[in-house]
């Protein structure tokens, strides 16, 4: 079920009403409604996926209890490895089986040998990368004695399957989310209203910006060599906004809806396109997975308080795993390598700790230097985006070769200018709103303190109008569902 579908528009009010009616009975009944509605939501894609999430949940639930009941270090380690093996095994099979098999065969072909193997027709369960990491955090944190295992199965199932963030995050750590399902939730008017605001803005970004950009991006990435350099340049820009608005839009909807249910999720994006350096960008982009990799990979390896070769190794490990997490494709590996190459100098010089504040804090406009830094950071990101979006390395290089031609100075052609000009105008509106809201937790966060209610309501209605008039009417999946 997609957030921007009619089905979801019917499903959400029903789940909301049942959830808050059940609060009068008990915490368990509230969690039961969460689990049932989440399973309906998830099963809408394919009911078979429910067996997988149920298996994964029950396995980690039982392993968590066993871990908490033993003090023998060897036994605890064994249980942790079992949890990791099962979770990563399931993820690896569904996501990477064909990729590794293909790479294995190709490596033999390179040396002149021929291997034959059977590829499997595997359907990737939606959101598997997200909920696998979430359940893994549970067993790891119990192993590290950072939290107690729960015996409340309904609370645990709610933690794994909570529908707003089930299929595309934010990836929550067990010690942050699970305790919220162990206590009764109370309806909070301010939270609910701000949740609606955040979800509305997320829907605008997804349905209007991301989906309209998607049409233009698909056009240029299908066959880059048939487009002019200028069209490809704009294609890169559109892709940057597609992926940002798709993913941050989804996160805003997920966080906003969760707030309606009295559940707080962590911020996943912090206006990354207003970053002044690449390291600042990575501190603001997909925060939940950055935190996950930092806590469970980077710090255990020694983090940045170690020798320079080891820092290089640690950063490389995080970006490589991050690249592979995104997909089983060599393009993601090249993308992660490029990220490491661009970030490592700042790690060694210590400049990575610059720009911890918000750009032009307390001001309406940035300085010229800040503008230049933001534009150059954005330019690097749109270049990296070629490898992120291209279906293969060959297409990525084809894209770059076709981009760097004299016709980069020509007028771009997207099969008529209407769609591209309209989309650029809507992007400008979105970026303006985000600029003025950049010091809040989401773009419309500070609206209540700065403008009166009638103006606010007109503004919300205007966003609803923009969604109704300019959203893409073709159903386009959230980009991150594929991960």
């Amino acid at each position: 079920m997609l957030f921007d579908s009619i089905e979801f528009a019917v499903f959400l009010p029903i789940a909301f009403l049942l959830y808050w009616l059940s609060v009068r009975i008990s915490v368990k009944s509230q969690n039961l409604i969460v689990v049932l509605s989440s399973y309906v939501f998830y099963g809408w894609w394919n009911p078979k996926f429910l067996f997988l999430i149920l298996f994964s949940s029950i396995t980690d639930y039982l392993l968590g209890i066993l871990l908490s009941k033993t003090d023998q270090q060897n036994r605890r380690r064994l249980l942790l490895y079992l949890s990791i093996a099962i979770n990563i095994g399931i993820l690896g099979f569904f996501k990477y089986y064909n990729f590794f098999l293909n790479s294995f065969i190709e490596s033999f072909t390179f040396f002149g040998a021929t291997l034959e193997a059977e590829y499997l027709d595997i359907v990737l369960p939606v959101g598997i990368s997200f909920y696998t990491f979430q359940t893994l955090s549970y067993t790891v944190d119990i192993y590290r004695r950072k939290m107690q295992a729960t015996t409340d199965i309904l609370a645990f199932l709610s933690f794994v399957s909570f529908f707003p963030q089930l299929v595309a995050g934010p990836i929550e750590k067990a010690k942050d989310l699970l305790p919220q399902f162990l206590v009764s939730r109370r309806f909070d008017y301010v939270e609910a209203v701000d949740g609606c605001r955040q979800a509305l803005w997320g829907l605008f970004k997804k349905a209007v910006i991301a989906d309209n950009c998607a049409h233009l991006v698909n056009m240029v990435f299908t066959e880059p060599s048939s487009h002019s350099g200028s069209t490809l340049l704009f294609g890169m820009v559109f892709f940057s906004f597609q992926i940002y608005c798709d993913f941050s839009g989804y996160s805003d909807i997920a966080i906003g809806i969760s707030r309606l249910f009295g559940i707080r999720l962590t911020q996943n994006f912090n206006f990354p396109y207003f970053s002044r350096s690449l390291t600042e960008f990575w501190r603001r982009w997909h925060l939940s997975i950055s935190r996950w990799f930092t806590d469970y990979i980077y710090r255990p390896l020694g983090g940045s308080r170690t020798s320079k070769p080891k820092i290089l190794r640690n950063v490389f490990a995080v970006f490589l795993l991050s690249g592979l997490w995104h997909g089983a494709n060599w393009t993601f590996i090249v993308w992660s390598l490029l990220c490491v190459i661009l970030i490592i100098p700042s790690m060694f010089t210590g400049s990575n700790r610059r720009y911890l504040d918000t750009v032009a804090q307390g001001k309406h406009l940035p300085s010229l230097k800040e503008c230049w830094l933001m534009i150059s950071t954005f330019s690097i990101n749109i270049f990296l985006g070629i490898f992120f979006r291209a279906p293969s390395i060959a297409v990525a290089f084809d894209y770059i070769a076709s981009l760097l031609t004299p016709d980069i100075f020509s007028i771009p052609n997207f099969g008529g200018h209407l769609g591209a000009v309209r989309t650029l105008t809507l992007i400008s509106f979105m970026m303006t709103v985000e600029w003025f809201g950049r010091e809040g937790k989401h773009a419309l966060d500070n609206l209540t303190t700065s403008i009166s209610r009638p103006v606010r309501w007109i503004f919300y209605s205007f966003i609803i109008f923009l969604i109704g008039m300019y959203m893409s009417t073709d159903s386009i999946d959230f980009y991150y569902f594929q991960f």
Partner: protein, 306 residues
């Protein structure tokens, strides 16, 4: 929670009012770039408003024509009149079977035709019917019928168009949408175009036929309805330019499927037409082609094909 619901109940109608006012403003003042999900021009160039107005007064005819633009530009009621046949052309843009069945339910009893001819070209089975619905909606007054049809199709473009049409009607802003001077409406529903010759039939790529289940189901409903009403039904594949026709990869399957549904004539196989001389574009006959096709059809109606 009461306060939350009160705010929602207050905000929803105000927001809808603002939304619909913006639709009116953009619909009246905006250029096509800003009307992405609103259709209030362009499709009207087929005199649908004249056709629907006239249809309200048509009774007891010999033959009713239904289908897409192939029908409204391919079946000339005047030619049938010369053979003593009283006909009406109820073709609309991109009219698929799901729309045909709705039009039939609306007009079949009053028009009471002896025979119904429906254009069944393969492309029409791949349509969702949105184009046809909007064409009808912007050319007819808002009624419970149009609202129910909009709900049935459930597309944002249709809802926005419905809102715009509602404002038009409420404020009597209705003016006949501009009609081009390259065509004219012939009483009886036919659309006559200025004679032009096709020069588009180059570099056409081959196409597969992927029909929508809903369209195939609707065709069966039409057949059932005609059986119940005891009306003779003829499925006709109106000629398209031969070079375009030959790009379709699944024609044998399509022909056999249509033949299994009832009386079906594929005139692309019976007539020897030229890409350029008898066609205006790849999918529409020009008046020379219409004359040849209509005469052949009338001949077959009088003396059925074997």
């Amino acid at each position: 929670m009461g306060a939350f619901f009160r705010k929602i109940i207050l905000f929803a109608p105000l927001s809808f009012l603002f939304y619909s006012l913006m639709i009116l403003v953009v619909g009246e003042l905006g250029n096509s770039m800003w009307k992405k999900n609103l259709v209030n021009s362009g499709l009207s160039y087929n005199y649908t408003i004249n056709r629907l107005e006239e249809a309200e007064n048509i009774e007891d005819i010999d033959i009713l024509f239904l289908g897409s633009s192939h029908t409204l530009r391919g079946l000339d009621v005047r030619i049938f009149q010369t053979h003593g046949l009283k006909t009406f052309n109820l073709g609309t843009i991109s009219q698929p079977p799901t729309e045909t069945i709705k039009l039939l339910h609306r007009y079949i009893d009053r028009m009471d035709p002896d025979k119904i001819i429906i254009d069944t070209c393969p492309d029409i089975f791949m349509s969702d019917g949105l184009g046809s619905e909007i064409d009808i909606m912007i050319n007819s007054p808002i009624s419970l019928y149009t609202i129910l049809r909009a709900l049935d199709i459930n597309q944002l473009k249709l809802y926005n168009t419905l809102i715009w049409r509602g404002w038009q009607q409420a404020f009597s802003l209705e003016s006949r949408l501009p009609q081009p001077n390259t065509s004219r409406y012939v009483p009886g529903g036919y659309l006559e175009r200025v004679l032009r010759f096709n020069n588009d039939s180059k570099d056409l790529s081959s196409r597969r036929w992927n029909p929508k289940e809903a369209q195939l189901r609707a065709l069966k409903e039409i057949i059932e309805l005609c059986k119940v009403k005891k009306i003779e039904l003829l499925l006709v594949y109106i000629p398209v330019a031969p070079s375009y026709y030959n790009t379709q990869l699944d024609l044998p399957y399509f022909d056999s499927l249509m033949s299994s549904q009832g009386t079906y004539h594929n005139y692309n196989n019976y007539l020897d037409l030229n890409d350029s001389i008898q066609f205006e574009d790849n999918t529409h006959l020009n008046q020379l082609g219409v004359e040849i096709f209509n005469q052949a059809l009338i001949r077959d109606l009088m003396q059925p094909l074997n």
